[in-house]
């Protein structure tokens, strides 16, 4: 028996950065809001005093329990997709705050080029630069129009940083100064300067000083304790939804949070969503939550799957390249972080210290900041040196040729434990006609609903951009003076490991209802009261980590939802582009 609840203005699915920001904004605006989180209720005490590498990094304490839902994965259209069964192979955040709680904190903006990638590529290099089947398109909004939302997010999170010397225009500085420099970062900056590049300190959500955000939430000072990526912060010093937007939303009586609430369908009638159906996972009781606006702000996988299961929007068909739901799937895979590793025989570094976003970076080979006329790819990426702070299980890197176990492994792994630095190229990933999402024909979740199926493979664009980045990283690592410099190899094919948490697209934004699911306020073209917020809206994956853009998109969407609640109707008119 389904219990129908009282109608609200807005129901939000997911409580990460995206759902949290929209919750806070609409709660402040006095709207009646319910946020539904499939995971458990959490607060900062859950992450205090539990610095345990095995539990969090190797046993994935904070990640989705796959026993009731996972994804399936294949490379090619004619293959049978296999379920991704273990959390060694697949991780997605869960519980209150979602993926924001375990994130590293590395914070970039995307480039003006990314927002207008199709037009600018054609302008600079001609149409023939874009191979058949590469589905790049303009995002429907320019960087200049989007900048104020980046600014909002950066102030909410209190980001610590300094301007990128090659960066696009900013309306204000970072709210807090950059993090401290460690010895590896100094080495990286010196080497890249010597080579004529423009290094700077990566902007971080691990804050360099205590900060009170515009909503009155306080974020503490980072202690460089190293238990950061994969962990909740011990000190409330990493900006996440738990210490910022969720407490802001909870200050308002018109906001209600329900955890252990697993949404199974968006309810849909006569061209409008009417609410959602969800299950209380503690009791199995099903509920209908009616609402004027439905916001899907879950992870990319869930946003796509919920629309497909609810039969809202036209599913993408790779054979005809028509349809929009599941189109343009991309993300950061096992080719996205290739580069060079340096082993230093004469120097030891304090690699057991660090913070998720402690690092040096440079944009000389990001975006379209360099000439691509003679290169077999478009776009680019950051070159980063990160000092996350290694646990003792992680710090077992050995030079190539060392056996993986036994006496020599032991000797080298102990010798090099504090002598290994890594730099990598966070290459952009372009969308292709054959990389998409749909529902699996075989495997189901615990409620017998189909799992999401991912079809993804690499292209020459990927192979060429990765090779380019590896060579640049090698050049820098040699300049840094490592005794042994090793380079990564481009993997032959995507390996079905979904460990990075940065998977995107499928419900993308754009100018044209024929090739995008959402307009630039993130409601669906087809259904004006369903907003789909998150990295699922990105039409391609630019060469940086996505979080500030997800946050900025959420601020943009919150504005759109307000407009919709005031005036109703579609907020933007579709253009026919191609």
């Amino acid at each position: 028996m389904v219990t129908t609840l009282d109608k609200v203005d807005v129901v939000i699915v997911g409580t990460g950065w995206a759902g949290g920001i929209i919750s806070a904004e609409l709660a402040k605006a006095g709207r009646k809001v319910v946020a539904l989180e499939r995971g458990e209720m959490k607060n900062t005490s859950d992450y205090t005093g539990v610095k345990d590498e095995l539990r969090f990094t190797n046993r994935f304490e904070m990640m989705q329990n796959l026993s009731f839902e996972t994804i399936t994965s294949r490379n090619n259209l004619d293959e049978v997709a296999l379920p991704v069964r273990t959390r060694d192979e697949m991780m997605a955040g869960t519980d209150l705050g979602g993926g924001s709680v375990h994130w590293a904190g590395s914070s970039y903006r995307y480039w003006p080029y990314d927002f207008e990638i199709y037009s600018q590529t054609v302008d600079r290099y001609g149409k023939e630069k874009i191979p058949d089947g590469m589905m790049i398109q303009d995002w429907g909004i320019t960087y200049d129009d989007f900048e104020k939302y980046y600014d909002r997010f950066e102030k909410t999170a209190g980001l610590s940083g300094e301007p990128d010397p090659l960066g696009a225009k900013r309306s204000s500085d970072y709210p807090t100064p950059p993090l401290k420099e460690s010895e590896p970062i100094r080495l990286f900056k010196d080497a890249t300067k010597n080579l004529g590049y423009h290094p700077y300190q990566m902007a971080a959500a691990n804050l360099s000083e205590k900060y009170e955000n515009p909503d009155g939430q306080v974020i503490n000072q980072c202690q460089y304790c190293a238990f950061c990526t994969y962990y909740g912060c011990d000190f409330g010093a990493k900006s996440d939804a738990l210490v910022t937007v969720i407490p802001t939303a909870l200050e308002h009586d018109n906001f209600e949070l329900r955890t252990e609430s697993y949404v199974r369908r968006v309810l849909y009638k006569n061209g409008k969503a009417t609410g959602v159906q969800y299950v209380d996972t503690r009791t199995g009781q099903a509920y209908e939550q009616p609402a004027d606006v439905v916001v899907l702000a879950a992870f990319t996988f869930s946003n796509n799957r919920l629309l497909m299961m609810s039969e809202i929007g036209e599913p993408y068909n790779p054979q005809t390249r028509a349809g929009v739901i599941g189109r343009n799937f991309h993300g950061q895979f096992n080719m996205s972080f290739l580069g060079a590793r340096g082993f230093f025989d004469k120097k030891k570094f304090n690699l057991y210290m660090g913070a998720g976003a402690l690092g040096g970076t440079m944009s000389d080979f990001a975006s379209d900041n360099f000439d691509h006329s003679d290169l077999g790819f478009i776009n680019g990426g950051a070159i980063e040196l990160r000092q996350y702070g290694d646990g003792a299980i992680a710090s077992n890197r050995v030079p190539k040729g060392t056996p993986r176990w036994g006496k020599e492994f032991k000797k080298n792994s102990i010798h090099y434990a504090n002598r290994v630095l890594n730099i990598w190229y966070t290459s952009a990933i372009m969308p292709w006609w054959h990389n998409y999402l749909d529902l699996d024909p075989t495997y189901t979740d615990t409620f017998n609903d189909p799992l999401l199926r991912i079809t993804f493979k690499y292209t020459d664009q990927d192979r060429n951009i990765a090779k380019f980045g590896i060579e640049k990283c090698q050049e820098i690592m040699e300049e840094m003076g490592a005794d042994i410099v090793e380079t990564d190899d481009m993997p032959e094919e995507f390996d079905h490991i979904y460990q990075g948490g940065h998977y995107a697209g499928g419900v993308i934004m754009g100018n044209d209802a024929g090739t995008s699911a959402l307009n630039n306020y993130l409601p669906m073209w087809d259904v004006d009261n369903v907003f789909v917020v998150g990295a699922s809206a990105l039409p391609h994956f630019p060469g940086h980590h996505p979080t500030p853009t997800v946050g900025a998109l959420a601020y943009r969407a919150a504005e759109g939802i307000e407009k919709y609640l005031e005036n109703g109707g579609q907020l933007v008119k579709s253009e026919q582009i191609n």
């Binding site: 190797n58 304790c225 895979f333 972080f337 495997y443």
Partner: protein, 272 residues
């Protein structure tokens, strides 16, 4: 009566009363294991009840033979040498036992629904074992061992019992002896056969079993002592790892390497 005398008396009585010696079973696996694990106390190795590590007993592995194979295999992966203790001295076999007895061993949070295809594709899948530190943005924080690729109905606990017994079968086939009785080089040869995927196993590639063995051995050496391995933080001491600490804000910008005495999670939580 001292405790030492008390123990030897018990042992003598046990042997006599059970008739195991008289029956000529000594050297057989049961008594061999029991003698080794419970009754053999070396001179000077007698501990009072409070000094004994009462957490070191098998709760997952029923057969002592399985546990002995595991211990011998982990010791080959992480042997005792001039740098410090090996897997056995670090308690790594007990780390396995505790892990496999819990939710990790029963795959409580993994997707274990049918169908489990047994075809070339699933076998090939298990060989796509790139190192974890080359597999994603956060993975440089992870153990640089290959990611085991899971497409079997067996949970990890079952997989280990199967794999360890298979190690013994291969030892018998190849060398005519039990794994624990082989010379170190011979043990390595057997393990390499698993690593290279040369051993037939039903429902799983031997490389997957080996990757788990490798991953968990490293974890057992270096995880917090609360899990039963890394005994007395000896794993951490070997590589000058300081354990969980409150803050490095005053040291993070230092030029030189700083050595700190390790602290455990128990220290960090202020456990009493």
């Amino acid at each position: 009566m001292t405790e030492k005398e008390d123990q030897s008396v018990s042992r003598r009585h046990f042997l006599k009363n059970t008739g195991l010696v008289a029956g000529g079973v000594v050297g057989g696996s049961l008594l061999g294991g029991l003698l080794t694990n419970q009754f053999q106390t070396k001179e000077g190795d007698v501990k009072t009840a409070t000094q004994q590590n009462l957490q070191e007993a098998r709760m997952f592995f029923s057969r002592s033979e399985d546990f002995s194979i595991l211990a011998a295999a982990t010791e080959r992966i992480f042997p005792k040498d001039d740098h410090g203790p090996g897997a056995i001295e670090l308690g790594v076999p007990y780390f396995f036992d505790k892990q496999l007895a819990g939710s990790w061993g029963t795959n409580a949070k993994e997707y274990m629904q049918d169908p489990f295809f047994q075809n070339q594709e699933t076998i090939d899948y298990q060989y796509k074992d790139v190192d974890q530190d080359q597999a994603g943005p956060n993975t440089s924080t992870k153990a640089p061992t290959p990611t085991p690729r899971y497409q079997t109905r067996l949970n990890r606990g079952e997989l280990f019992l199967y794999g360890l017994r298979r190690i013994d079968e291969v030892s018998q086939d190849k060398f005519g002896q039990a794994f624990v009785d082989l010379a170190s080089e011979e043990q390595d040869e057997v393990l390499e056969m698993f690593e290279d995927g040369e051993v037939d196993m039903v429902g799983i590639a031997s490389v997957t079993f080996f990757n788990f063995l490798l991953q968990m051995t490293i974890e057992g050496v270096y995880a917090d002592p609360v899990y039963g391995g890394n005994k007395h933080m000896m794993g951490w001491k070997m590589k000058e790892y300081p354990g969980p600490r409150m803050a490095y804000i005053n040291e993070i910008d230092a030029d030189e390497f700083i050595v700190m005495e390790p602290k455990s999670l128990r220290d960090y939580q202020g456990g009493s």
